[in-house]
Every structure is written in structure tokens, then in C-alpha cells.
């Protein structure tokens, strides 16, 4: 075994999808990598000061500016003539990426920095207690979109971050999932084979916020993909180049494992609304295997 790049002893919850994804991302990127991390669960559980789980240089930025700090790191490496030997990753949660960090990220893409941005999408602000974010799915129960007599949960659909990234004409955009770990590692390697800004959004189940059993983390991730609710897609230079085909399963199989969707069960109309989201994705990206 080569030397670990992400060590045990971190303080993520048992079964945390984000901790698993982060280890595989850095293993795929390799030891010559500098990581810049937004504030959020990943930064908190991996740098339990004065301890660190990282085996590579790691910078904790603020909540909103990993992309700006990583841009500076990349510019410095370029100035020193070292950029060809070092990978730069900026990473953070869905809140740090799609909401408060979007301005810094858009700037990084626009200026064309040779940085891979990884968004760990656990679909809410988990580290501060499960508040909704722009990537929280429709009708999900969170502490700021609570279910009650007048509410079915989060009012809005997920912000289309992959499309927003593609609109910046960057070299590589992909979605990945903790349900498909080898695919995640292949996409990280693919990203580093291309120059310029890259964006990978990893669906990362959170047993605490999604209220599923810790042992089900990978199964929940797989079902999100296999129902069509989280399509795995790849764009190179603006063109759709890869789609993981599925034999679509009913969305109920995904919903029923998670407490955040429990209020939708036994409500055919509510399940139909979620099924429509999946069906739209299946149509739009041609996800269905043609037999």
C-alpha cells in the first residue's frame, strides 16, 4: 500500500458519504496535490485542531472562498513554474458551493484557472444542523423547510449547478456518486487529464441529515442514480459526452429509506411529483437503457 493521503481518526459520523468520497478523491488525485477547503463538515471533521487527517498540503479558506484561494494557489504555482507538477483541488459542501461560494466559483471558472472544484452534495447545510440549501431536493424535510400542516418541505427544485458550470464553457463538468465509487475515481483522473477549470459534483449521502441507517450510505447513493433522480453525466468543453444508463426504478424505493422524505410515503400525489422529476431527467439525458 502506498502512503495514505487521508488518514483515519477523522470525526465524521459513522457511515458519512462525504468522508468516503473525500478519501477517494484525494487518492485518485495523488500525493502531488494541494487542497483548499470551504468551511463545512468535511473541513471540520478532517482538521480536528491540532490534528489533521490530511496527508497533502491543505488550506482551510472561509465558507465562501475556496475557489478564490485555490485560484491564488494556482497562480502562484504558475509563477514559480511548478504548475505542471502539482494538482490543485478546491472543495466544499453544496451550501458552500451553490449558494455562498458561487460568486468565487464563477470567477475561478471565468478566469480559466487550472483547478478542479469538487462539490460534495449532501443536499443541505449539515454542519450547522440541516438547513436547506440551493441543492436541497424538492419537498425534502429540513430544519428551515420543516414539514407541517401547511408545508410539504423544501419548496424549490435543485439548482442546476452542472448546467451553470457548463454555461461557463469550462473543460470538464461531471456528476458522480458515492453509490458508484470506481466511476467517481475515473472522473477525478479524467478531470486532471484536462487543463483549465473543472467541476465535479458528488452526491454524498449523509446518514444524519437524510435520516437513513449508516450502513445504507452506498445503497442510498445507488438508488438516487438508478431512479433517475441524480443522473450521472459528463460534459467535455460544453458537449455531453457521457451518461450512465439505467433501468429506471420507481422513486419510492429511494424515498422510503430516508426520514427526510417519510412524509411523502402513503401520499400518491406527492410521490407522483417526485417521479415526474426523475422522468424529466430520464427524458432529458436519455438515461434509459433501450432493450
Amino acid at each position: 500500500m502506498s502512503k495514505p493521503l487521508f488518514f483515519p481518526g477523522h470525526t465524521a459520523c459513522a457511515g458519512c458519504g462525504q468522508s468516503l468520497a473525500a478519501r477517494l478523491v484525494i487518492e485518485a488525485a495523488g500525493p502531488n496535490t494541494i487542497v483548499v477547503n470551504n468551511t463545512g463538515c468535511l473541513e471540520v471533521f478532517s482538521t480536528y485542531y491540532p490534528l489533521t487527517a490530511w496527508g497533502v498540503p491543505f488550506v482551510h479558506s472561509l465558507f465562501e472562498n475556496a475557489a478564490a484561494v485555490a485560484s491564488g494557489v494556482e497562480a502562484a504555482l504558475t509563477y514559480l513554474g511548478k504548475k505542471d507538477k502539482v494538482n490543485v483541488i478546491a472543495q466544499g459542501g453544496d451550501g458552500g458551493t451553490a449558494d455562498i461560494g458561487l460568486q468565487a466559483l464563477s470567477g475561478m471558472w471565468e478566469r480559466g484557472h487550472d483547478v478542479l472544484y469538487v462539490c460534495y452534495d449532501n443536499e443541505a447545510y449539515m454542519n450547522t444542523g440541516v438547513q436547506r440549501s440551493g441543492l436541497t431536493p424538492f419537498n425534502s424535510d429540513t430544519t428551515t423547510s420543516p414539514v407541517g400542516t401547511q408545508s410539504m418541505g423544501n419548496l424549490r427544485p435543485k439548482k442546476p449547478m452542472p448546467e451553470i458550470a457548463v454555461a461557463h464553457a469550462i473543460s470538464y463538468v461531471a456528476t458522480a456518486s458515492v453509490g458508484f465509487l470506481q466511476d467517481l475515481q475515473r472522473k477525478i483522473k479524467k478531470a486532471f487529464s484536462l487543463k483549465g477549470p473543472k467541476y465535479i459534483q458528488v452526491h454524498a449521502p449523509c446518514p444524519l441529515g437524510w435520516r437513513h441507517e449508516p450502513r445504507q450510505t452506498i445503497e442510498v447513493g445507488r438508488l438516487a442514480v438508478e431512479t433517475g433522480l441524480y443522473p450521472l453525466i459528463e460534459y467535455e468543453f460544453g458537449k455531453l459526452t457521457g451518461v450512465r444508463k439505467i433501468q429506471p426504478k420507481p422513486v419510492e424505493e429511494y424515498l422510503r429509506l430516508q426520514g427526510r422524505f417519510r412524509h411523502l410515503l402513503n401520499n400518491p400525489q406527492a410521490i407522483k411529483q417526485i417521479q415526474e422529476i426523475a422522468d424529466n431527467n430520464i427524458d432529458r439525458y436519455g438515461l434509459k437503457i433501450q432493450l
Partner: protein, 90 residues
């Protein structure tokens, strides 16, 4: 220079998260293992090691008992057993 800085890599190893397990731990049966390495790939703690068939084992100093390795093993060669406090000294 600004701080705080941490200069040594991987010092989280001083934090023995194995103490978090309260109910159950994985037991590596080492009988029908085909060395597919899926458990190594899937452990959020990165605390499983092994090379040859039937040699895979986790480090109970760090294992949080999540049960993911049990779920992914295609040969059902890992099972959850009741936590035995004596065994934590293995």
C-alpha cells in the same frame, strides 16, 4: 505567517474513533473472500487492509461500526457481531 498551522500529516491517527462503537462491530470471516477489495474501497474510515484472499481485516482502533463493509461484500464474508468490550484490545 498566519496560523493556526499544522505541520505534520495524518496526526488524526491519535484520535482512536474505535471507541465510538457501542453496539456492533464487523467480523471478517476470512472464509469465502475473493480479494475483490470492495471493502477497502468502501470504508469511510479507510481502516481496512489486506492483500491475499481471506486476509482482510479492519483496524478496530478506528472502525466506527457503520456496517458499510458488510453491505458491499459480494460473498457475505463480513458480518456484524455484538460489540465485545474485551475484543477492543485486539
Amino acid at each position: 505567517m498566519f496560523g493556526p498551522l499544522i505541520s505534520k500529516p495524518g496526526t488524526s491517527k491519535n484520535n482512536k474513533t474505535g471507541s465510538w462503537r457501542i453496539e456492533a462491530r464487523p467480523k471478517f470471516l476470512q472464509k469465502n473472500c475473493i480479494a475483490c477489495r470492495l471493502c477497502i474501497l468502501s470504508c469511510p474510515e479507510g481502516c481496512i487492509s489486506g492483500e491475499e484472499k481471506n486476509t482482510f481485516i479492519c483496524d478496530y482502533d478506528y472502525c466506527k461500526g457503520c456496517g458499510i463493509c458488510v453491505e458491499v461484500c459480494p460473498k457475505k464474508d463480513i458480518e456484524m457481531v455484538k460489540e465485545d468490550l474485551d475484543l477492543t484490545k485486539v
